[in-house]
């Protein structure tokens, strides 16, 4: 199973964290620090896999963001890379050419999309169409742009 997924910027700023097993907050902060230093220190054109403790770390950089996924030892590395890619595709489809700012300002959406795609550390739905349909139908349940603009800005 997958253990956690972290998104952080080239400066090491965390943009999204998803933990699939319960971990104490202190421990989480330690892991985040370790992952950012470890992944950011990697040379370009190195391989995308690392061994860390009893886990495999799969990471990939998309524009200014690093995606870093920890999987258990017997899991498939190449497919984990494609899990990351599929998530990026889903974000891209939803936001339309996703950038780091989209994830910062709409972090809750990034979490919702992730929940439709992965659940409990396993892949839930690999079809891009189905996940997108899910997200869009839930957006239909939400307010219109006029409602949005009439809201107080504080």
């Amino acid at each position: 199973m997958m253990r956690f997924l972290l998104l952080f910027s080239r400066q090491g700023k965390l943009r999204l964290q998803k933990w699939f097993t319960p971990i104490p907050e202190r421990e989480k902060k330690k892991i985040i620090r370790e992952m950012t230093t470890m992944v950011l220190a990697r040379q370009p054109r190195s391989c995308n896999f690392l061994h860390w403790k009893d886990l495999k770390i799969i990471y990939k950089r998309y524009a200014s963001l690093y995606f870093c996924l920890a999987i258990e030892n017997h899991e498939n590395e190449l497919l984990a890379l494609e899990v990351i890619h599929r998530y990026v595709e889903l974000l891209d489809k939803y936001f339309g050419n996703v950038c780091e700012l989209d994830i910062i300002f709409n972090f809750e959406k990034a979490y919702f999309i992730l929940d439709e795609f992965l659940l409990g550390g396993e892949i839930q739905e690999t079809s891009k169409q189905i996940v997108n349909r899910c997200i869009e139908s839930s957006d239909m349940l939400q307010e219109t742009m006029e409602e949005y603009m009439s809201k107080p800005a504080f």
């Binding site: 190195s46 498939n76 190449l78 890379l81 809750e108 959406k109």
Partner: protein, 899 residues
């Protein structure tokens, strides 16, 4: 601030986020956050009831603050309230807050559970999914208690929507992982297996994850999943890439599902059913074939997905370890990847080859890639790839290539990354010891290791070289000479001084004849390093000096002077001072005889698991160390380099808990004047074919045996019958492996029983000897009986079709694997009797169409053995082929006496 284009943004939230982003310093950020927290707190506490939207917005802001890394100690209640909203977006934020922030022991869990319960009961699939996601995200025990009964029924109910089924399957999986005791197995388990047939591939994918986890825990309950998984896999791999619509990922048909199915199949041995087995083999072959086809797309996603399936298929092939052709094909495929331009593929190929190296079918094939791997060690830019290359070299090492591999690893060590040096040092040390044919090479290697990477040579490594030198007298002189020469280097590592001090202290006399290494020269050489060393090394050197006084009386005065100097006698370190004082006094007052006794050469070390191997295992974690066990090696597997007593190594005999006197008592009692007795093996050969009977009998005592064997384990019941009318006193019995006692008194005419548990660790030729002592009347009786524990007892019958048998027979064609013996029949040649004997011995018959041939096959403790026994006129020809030479030899000896 970017405009939010989609869905329902929350303007207040967006403003807050951009404020935070505009903060110039950490302090400004904290100030802004504190301001916001105060604002939210006052809103929550205010008299005016908040509407849903505001509540949602503030909860979301709190979540954002928390994710920035700040502590949040309020707002939980408001989040829980959001769960009961009927507005989807509010509910969604409430669940998100809970998933991220609520830890399992929160007091709110009952309220949360209540919200979840309502949503599960709502029959609204969107709400049900939210609730299931929350359970899967939090996964606490309280939630398992509340919902573990309900979720299985949601999962298998006929009217459940597909997306809910997927969530339910994974939710159940999560609960099963966190609280397996709370998830009841039951009627639903059988129906879950049938989800593998579901129309919706998303449901199948989620269900496969669940079934795999359940099958790992109780494989028997999910056996039916094998055939369904094979069928599904076969449909996927043979489908045209467009058939699966959106489940085709960059022209690869359902890669996630394929990998999951292959993973599920790895919970089981190869299918027993021949048709199913060949269907699976076909699938695996198709996957291997596809790897050779030109890519359908240049995108890396295409090749990643395709190769992900390929690597998983190779994992399954390795797991089954039964189809030599597939194993060799897998190895060739990985061999291609070793030179691929994608770093990821090179990395993975090195990694999977490590496991292939430990299969006896593919070990040789892996070895052919040695040059590529060595090249990878030299040229790869990425340290993690080089690390995998080191691992693979370690795994593929055997006697034939040990020297080359050790030399390459040593030369790599000079430039290796600091982070992996210690591990390489351990690996070199282990390989050098394990495959040392002559121990001078071993000593050279370890000294080189200290020279190249002294700082990374842990204590275990240099302890080990000393243990080995002490236990082997043929290498002591060479070791003394070599360390003496090595110590001449201008800057030698402290570890070398330690080894040098110890070895010269013990064996310096072996090279003292040469004037270039006279005692005085040896001493001055060691002492020249003394002042550069740390306290523990100095202490060791002082001990070496006192040993010198014993070995070479002519340097006594010089050494005494050194010991007497203020820097020793008044050393600030109490350990050094004490040693100096005591050694000086000892050398002054003790006679040469006493000195010689006190400072005698160290006795050999008792043999145990190599301490370095234990260390490497600790370092890598259990199960991560590639298996370089002797067991797997078929060609070079003899163990003549092992200086352990061969027997203890081979059989671990554990006696049942003893009630009688312990061995220590025996040693000091009068019976310790035991004389060596001839070992009785009169009836030994009769037990080749049978398990029960009388093994020994004289006028006083009868010893009967009852034995049973299962796989590599055996149990022998030994019955001692007193044939006389007088008591046997001080009765004891022990094996040459393990001391063991029975009831010390056997009454006249009585019988006592002793149970021996046996484990076959590796193939062996010597049988254990049971030593028995007792007093009858006034005289001490000694009896030694060879116990009929033989290699063939550990046979497992193997059912094979003729085709399989002869294929396997041909594979075992190496000259050293076959032993043939032609001998005269000792007993009348009766077909039925012979057949029965073959059946007992080799467990199966009837493969060969020629009725004159008797054929059988069996597996000993994971190793295969086949024998053919064709009768001729008054003569038998016995042909045995096994994967190991020593096994063939021994079996031939044992079986040849039986016909």
């Amino acid at each position: 601030m970017p405009t939010v284009s989609k869905g329902d943004g929350m303007r207040g939230l967006a403003v807050f986020i951009s404020d935070i982003r505009n903060c110039k310093s950490k302090e400004a950020e904290i100030k802004r956050i504190n301001k916001e927290l105060a604002n939210i707190r006052s809103k929550f506490k205010g008299d005016k009831a908040l509407d849903g939207y505001s509540k949602k917005k503030y909860v979301c802001k709190l979540l954002f603050i928390f994710l920035l890394g700040h502590d949040i100690d309020f707002g939980h209640m408001e989040a829980v309230n959001l769960l009961s909203s009927n507005k989807y977006t509010e509910k969604q934020i409430g669940y998100l807050f809970i998933s991220v922030l609520v830890n399992s022991n929160s007091d709110l869990i009952r309220l949360i559970n209540n919200g979840i319960k309502n949503d599960l009961a709502s029959r609204n699939p969107t709400f049900m999914n939210l609730a299931l996601h929350c359970i899967a995200n939090v996964g606490s025990r309280e939630m398992a208690e509340a919902f573990a009964f309900e979720i299985p029924s949601i999962l298998v109910a006929g009217d459940t929507m597909d997306s809910v089924k997927q969530s339910a399957a994974l939710c159940l999986l999560r609960l099963n992982r966190t609280s397996p005791d709370l998830v009841p197995m039951g009627e639903w388990t059988a129906r879950v297996v049938h989800l593998l047939n579901d129309q919706h591939l998303g449901v199948v994918t989620a269900a496969t994850s669940l079934i795999t986890t359940l099958a790992q825990k109780s494989p028997d309950d999910f056996k039916t999943s094998i055939s369904l998984a094979v069928a599904r896999l076969s449909r996927i791999v043979t489908s045209a890439s467009i058939d699966l619509q959106d489940y085709t990922y960059y022209f690869v048909a359902a890669p996630w599902l394929s990998v999951k199915l292959l993973r599920l199949l790895q919970c089981y041995p190869p299918p027993e059913d021949a048709a199913l087995r060949s269907r699976l083999t076909e699938c695996l072959e198709t996957i291997l074939n596809k790897a050779q086809e030109p890519p359908k797309s240049k995108k890396v996603q295409h090749s990643n997905a395709k190769n992900a399936v390929l690597f998983e298929a190779i994992s399954l092939i390795i797991h089954h370890d039964s189809e030599p052709t597939l194993l060799v094909r897998a190895c060739n495929q990985l061999g291609q990847f070793l030179q691929h331009r994608e770093t990821n593929l090179r990395y993975l190929a090195l990694e999977s080859m490590c496991t292939l190296a430990s299969s006896e079918f593919s070990h040789e094939a892996v070895k052919t890639h040695i040059d590529t791997v060595i090249n990878a060690l030299k040229t790869e830019r990425d340290v993690s790839v080089r690390q995998r290359a080191v691992d693979l070299l370690y795994a593929m090492c055997d006697r034939s290539n040990a020297k080359q591999i050790v030399a390459e690893m040593l030369s790599y060590l000079e430039t290796a990354d600091y982070s992996i040096r210690e591990e390489i040092v351990l690996k070199v040390a282990i390989l050098a010891e394990k495959y040392a044919v002559d121990y001078t090479w071993y000593v050279d290697t370890i000294l080189n290791l200290i020279r190249v990477a002294g700082d990374y040579v842990s204590e275990e490594v240099w302890y080990r070289v000393i243990q080995i030198v002490i236990n082997r007298d043929d290498v002591q002189g060479y070791a003394a000479k070599t360390v003496f020469e090595a110590l001449h280097a201008p800057a030698c590592h402290e570890n070398l001084v330690k080894v040098g001090g110890y070895i010269l202290g013990e064996f310096g006399n072996l090279i003292a004849g040469d004037s270039r290494s006279s005692p005085l020269v040896q001493f001055s050489l060691l002492h020249s390093k003394f002042h550069l060393c740390s306290v523990p090394t100095r202490a060791l050197l002082l001990s070496a000096y006192i040993k010198f006084i014993n070995l070479f009386p002519e340097v006594k005065a010089t050494i005494q002077d050194v010991l007497r100097s203020d820097s020793q006698l008044r050393n600030a370190d109490v350990e050094l001072q004490q040693r100096a004082v005591e050694y000086l006094k000892l050398s002054c007052i003790a006679s040469t005889d006493i000195l010689a006794t006190v400072l005698e050469e160290m006795p050999p070390f008792p043999e145990r698991e190599s301490s370095i191997l234990a260390k490497l295992k600790r370092k890598k974690g259990p199960g991560k160390l590639p298996d370089i066990d002797e067991n797997r090696r078929n060609v070079n597997g003899s163990s003549e380099h092992s200086f352990r007593p061969p027997f203890t190594d081979v059989l671990n005999l554990n006696s049942s808990p003893s009630t009688g006197p312990s061995l220590l008592v025996d040693v000091f009692s009068d019976s310790s004047t035991s004389v060596s007795v001839d070992v009785s093996e009169d009836n030994f050969s009769r037990f080749v074919c049978k398990n029960n009977g009388v093994i020994y009998e004289n006028q006083l005592l009868q010893i009967g045996l009852k034995s049973e064997y299962r796989q590599n384990l055996g149990r022998i019941y030994v019955f001692y019958g007193n044939k006389t009318s007088t008591q046997f006193l001080s009765f004891s019995s022990f094996l040459n492996v393990h001391a063991k006692s029975v009831d010390p008194i056997i009454e006249g005419g009585a019988q006592v029983q002793q149970i021996l548990n046996i484990e076959c660790v590796s193939d062996f030729t010597d049988a254990p000897v049971l030593n028995i002592q007792f007093r009858y009347g006034g005289t001490l009786q000694n009896i030694a009986v060879k116990l009929p524990v033989m290699l063939n007892k550990f046979f497992q019958p193997t059912e094979m079709t003729s085709q399989d048998f002869f294929q396997r027979w041909k594979q075992l064609g190496a000259p050293q694997q076959e032993v043939q013996k032609i001998f005269k029949a000792q007993y009348p040649m009766d077909t039925d009797v012979t057949k029965a004997k073959v059946l007992v011995l080799l467990c199966w018959n009837g493969v060969d169409p020629n009725p004159a041939n008797f054929v059988g096959a069996g597996v000993i403790h994971t190793k295969s053995t086949q024998g053919g026994l064709p009768p001729q006129t008054g003569m038998y020809r016995l042909t045995l082929r096994t994967s190991r030479e020593s096994v063939s030899q021994r079996l031939c000896e044992l079986l040849g006496e039986q016909f």
